[in-house]
Structure formats: C-alpha cells, structure tokens
C-alpha cells in the first residue's frame, strides 16, 4: 500500500505548502541546527590541527612504515569516493527509469556526492610526502623544462577522473537548482533576493525552459553514468595494476569496487535523508515508500556486491599460492584482522540484508537508519582490509612482512572527514533546498488514480 500524502486541494495550497515546508531552513533556522553545526565545526578544527601537525612534522607522525606505505588516509579516500557514488546512482539511474519515488531523494543524494568527493580529493594530497609540491602531479604546465605528468600512472588517471566527476556532478546540481533559485528569489527580501535573482538568471518558467530542464535531466544522467562507473574503476586500478601486491592484482577489482561503492553510497544517502528528515521535518516528502523502495534497491545492490566479493576471494585463493594464502590467513584468522573481517562481513552484508527482506524493517526509519550505518561501518573496514593486509603480506619475501597500527593523527583525520562532510551538507542546506521543489511539484501534477472494480489504483501520467 502506497500511503500518498495529500498536500492540498488547489494548486496554490499545494505549491505554497511545498515552498513553506521545504524552504524552512533556508528562510528560518532553528537553534539546534546551529548547535549541531557548531559541534561539527569543532571536530573539523581538531582534524585541521592534526593535518597541520602532520604537514609540519612529516608523514612520520602516522603509523605508516615499510612495507605498509598506504593506510588509513588512502582507505578513507577510497571510502569517500565510494560514498560519492550514491548521488549519481540514485538521481541518474532512477531518473532514467522514471521512478516516481526518486523525486524527493535526488538532490540530497547529489549534494552528498559533491561533498564526499571534495573530501576524498584532500586525502591523496595530504598523504603525499610533500603536499606543497603536488601541483605538477596533475597539471601538465611545465613547458619550460618539458617535464609532464606520467600518463601511464593510475595516479594521473585519478585526478582526471575525479575532476571530471566532480565538475559534472556540481553542474548536475546547479542546473537543477535554477528553477528553485527562482522560487527563493520570489520568497526572499533584500540582499538575499538580489543574490538569488542573479543565480536564477531571470528564470520565468516558460514551457520551453521547463522542457529543457527535463531533457537536460535525462541527458546529463545518461552522460554522467559512464563517468561514475569509470571513476571508481580507476580508483580500483590504483590497486589492481600493482602486480607486486598479489592481493591487489585482481582483474575483478573495477566492478567490485564500483558496486561496493554503490552499496555504501546508497546506504549513506538513506542515513543522511533520515537524519535530515528528522532535522528539517520532511515527514511529507521522505515517506515510508521512499525508504522502502531504497531498501529494495539496496537488497539487489548488496547481493550483487556480495557476488563480486565471493568471486574475488574464490578466484584469488584457488591457485593456492603461498603469498596469497598467507595473506588470507592473516585477513581471516589473525587478530585484529580476523575481528575486523568478522565485523565487516556481518555489518556489510549478513546483518542488514536479511533484515531488509522484511517489509516492516524497510518501512521503519529507525531500523533503516541503524542498518545503513552498519553497512557503512562494514564497507569502511572492507576498504581497509583490501588495502592494508595486501601490503603487510607482500610477496614471498617474508623477511619484511609486517603489520600496521594507525596513529592518533590518522584517526583524527578520519573522524574529521566525517564531520567535514556533514557540516558542509548542513551549511549548504542553509542556502539551497535539499529537496528539489519543482520536481516534487511536478510529481504532484502527474499524480492520478483510477478505479478497477472496487479497487482504487494509484497512478501517474507518463509522457513517454
């Protein structure tokens, strides 16, 4: 049973109500909002301190050493790139599939993408030995000496892919924002009005403008999907191409990472939306149906991810190579990795997915919040378990096998990154509505229903 909220009788009622309810935070802000933002800002400041200390002292302050040269920071980088795959996944695929329930969900998801990606980019730079010289890492500007980046290096592919993805997703958001800027232009006063006036670019809402909005939505979705797939594939190749780390040198990495990213990303979006729903009173928009459908989607995604997880392990151990077995032994049986692995596989799959099979779990905000957070705990650990053990058990030269303990600095950075993303999402929610107004209004227009015998069937008008 879909529980459709009736927002009003006349168009005026509906639209003004949507404007009122979805612009609350933009037009009027509650105190608890500032309290939360303030707290997050504190955490971010702390992490900032840690970063400063690291840049000043050198990478020595981390727990990294030979042969574990990559640790928490890269794990976190991969994790955030993963989260960033939610936005496009949801808004693009669901828009192409013309899923009605996507309407309230899209923008929040895209915003998560943008900020997750921005945060992700920081880490490889901070993580490098001399962050202040990373300019020539990505940009071929040194014509004077004719020295350029090495096209063959995955670490050059990364910046290309991520900049492309970041630019596209920002544009994706901005284009969809124009009509909503117009709404705010008409609602605000004074300076704000002037600013929104500029941002809205003189939008009036003619049929042609709307048409192009919608066409652009489809077109950009179709264009951005291949980018989104490529980004995490390239991130996965940072590891995959490394032939000397047998645990990494697996052909399945690209799709495995992508689907894993979608798994964690969509979960993150659900988490974020449930929290925002509580914070901004979105009861009429983020309904049980929304998270129910998201839950169903998650079951499929999670299971697909699990399939890749299984073949990744199966096809790496079936040749029974010493180094490979040593690695897996460490991953599965040696503390602390054994505990991490257990936590990961339980929280990443075996707790949430069976729960999602129950309708009343999928339709309960509390449970979806819990399960989706669990998933992301699991997926963070998954990245860690892919990156670190592989390095700790590299090749047969067991003389320099080792293990890794993160330092407090790295831990602070990781925590900070979470605070940073959340803070940014909250701050942006002060200037733009995180639920696309016009999309919801369109949904209201297209809503319809008809009777079959005694049953009333909820329906929607379809232009195509």
């Amino acid at each position: 049973m879909q529980d459709r909220v009736v927002l009003g009788k006349t168009p005026q009622e509906v639209d003004s109500r949507i404007n009122r309810e979805l612009l609350t935070n933009v037009l009027y802000t509650e105190r608890r909002y500032w309290m939360i933002v303030g707290f997050l800002a504190l955490v971010v400041a702390l992490a900032g301190g840690a970063i400063g200390y690291m840049i000043n002292q050198g990478i020595g302050v981390t727990g990294l050493h030979r042969p574990v040269f990559w640790g928490f920071m890269i794990t976190n980088f991969v994790f955030w790139v993963g989260i960033s795959h939610a936005g496009v996944m949801l808004s693009a695929i669901l828009r192409l599939a013309q899923a009605e329930w996507r309407r309230p969900a899209t923008r929040a998801a895209e915003i998560v993408t943008v900020f997750a990606l921005m945060t992700a980019i920081l880490f490889p730079i901070l993580h490098s030995g001399r962050p202040w010289r990373t300019m020539y890492w990505a940009f071929p500007y040194d014509f004077a000496r004719g020295i350029f980046p090495n096209v063959r290096s995955p670490l050059v592919w990364d910046p290309t892919a991520i900049t492309t993805y970041l630019t596209s997703s920002i544009m994706f958001v901005v284009v969809a924002l124009i009509p909503d800027f117009a709404v705010m232009r008409d609602r605000t006063k004074g300076v704000a009005k002037a600013i929104y006036r500029v941002l809205a670019m003189g939008w009036r809402g003619t049929p042609r403008q709307w048409r192009l909005q919608i066409v652009a939505g489809f077109l950009l979705s179709a264009l951005i999907l291949p980018v989104f797939v490529s980004v995490h594939s390239i991130v996965s190749w940072d590891f995959g191409v490394a032939q000397s780390v047998e645990a990494w040198h697996s052909t399945v990495f690209a799709p495995y990472f992508v689907i894993g990213a979608v798994h964690s990303g969509v979960s993150a979006v659900v988490t974020v939306m449930i929290i925002l729903r509580w914070l901004f009173h979105w009861e009429n928009y983020i309904t049980k149906d929304t998270i129910d459908s998201l839950g169903r989607l998650l079951i499929v995604v999670a299971t697909a991810w699990f399939f890749f997880f299984v073949i990744e392990i199966l096809f790496s151990i079936y040749t029974l190579e010493d180094a490979e077995l040593a690695l897996r032994r460490m991953q599965l049986w040696e503390s602390p990795y054994s505990w991490l692995f257990l936590t990961f596989i339980l929280t990443g799959y075996f707790i949430p997915v069976p729960l999602w099979l129950f309708k009343n779990v999928r339709r309960s905000f509390k449970w979806m919040l819990i399960t989706t957070i669990l998933v992301n705990i699991g997926m963070w650990i998954e990245r860690f378990l892919i990156i670190v053990p592989g390095l700790a058990r590299k090749q047969g030269l067991s003389f320099s096998w080792s293990t890794y303990h993160p330092s407090i600095i790295e831990v602070l950075m990781v925590i900070g990154s979470f605070a940073f993303v959340s803070m940014n999402i909250l701050l942006i929610s002060k200037v733009v509505p995180l639920i696309p107004l016009y999309d919801v209004k369109e949904g209201e227009i297209l809503k319809d229903e008809f009777k079959i015998g005694k049953a009333t069937i909820p329906a929607t008008m379809r232009e195509e």
């Binding site: 809402g205 042609r208 232009e463």
Partner: protein, 169 residues
Amino acid sequence: MAKKQVLGVFKTADNAVMAVDRLNEAGFTNKDWTVLTGSPYPEGAFGEWMPKHRLYAFPFFGAIVGFTVAILVTAGTSVANPLVTGGKPIIAVPAMAVIVYEGTMLGAILMTIIGVIFESRLPRPLMGLYDERITEGYVGIDLNCPEDRINAAEMVMRQSGAVDVKHQK
C-alpha cells in the same frame, strides 16, 4: 506598431486554458502568448507553441572537442617527455584511453550545461512582466500584443477568470 506584454495570472490551469482558447479565437496565435508556470506541465498541456531545441547537438560537439584535446595532451606530453618506465611503450594506448575517455565525457557534459542555459535563453537580465505568485502555483499567460488591443486582451483574460492582469506601461 510597438508590441507590449500583457500578463494574466490565473488560479487554475483550466482557466488558463480557457483564456488561451479565447485569445486564439480573438485572433492571437499561440506564437503570441506563452505560459508561465511554477512547475513543469506535460508537453503540450496548454497547446503552447514549442519551437524545436537543438540541445542534443551540444554534447556531441563537446565530446569531439574533449576527445581531440585529450588526445593531444596525452600523446603530446608522452612524446615531449619520452622516458621509459617499466618497459611500457612511450605511446601507451590503454593508459591514454583512460584519460581520453574522461576528457571526452568532460567535454560532452560541459557543453550540455552550456547548451541547456543557451537553449532556454538564459541568463535573462530583464525578466519582463512577471508575477511572484507564479511560483506559488498560479498560472500566468504572457501575451505579446499590439498596443491598441491591450484592453481587449485584458478583457478576455478577466472574463476567463484571471485573478490579476497587468501590462507594460
């Protein structure tokens, strides 16, 4: 003679449609008026005039540009700085392919954005006649009519239930 804008604001889409029909009877064509709505209506819901847009051309153009630039940059830099690494060829096609791909997509997407803004005739610094109630769910009919017929047009709109009608001074 000089044309002036007349804007009628209607409570419901039905009234707007009624107004549109009457205007057409009164000798205006659907090229003279356009509809202003606060949210997208199905195409052709008002029998409005919808000139074809060329949005689809933009991404292809962008893709071609992006592709060429990316090829030049990747091939150029590898040739300009020909250092052997790991026994790989100087022009390493699979590696270049990755970057060229990203370049192509970036070009396509950026051009699409430009296309959207250009094709929807934005930015439009002088908005012309507008009413803030439109983003509240009211429907506006923006008629472009010769000065001597302004009153007639306003009359028509009022008759078909416009809550408010204004025109350029």
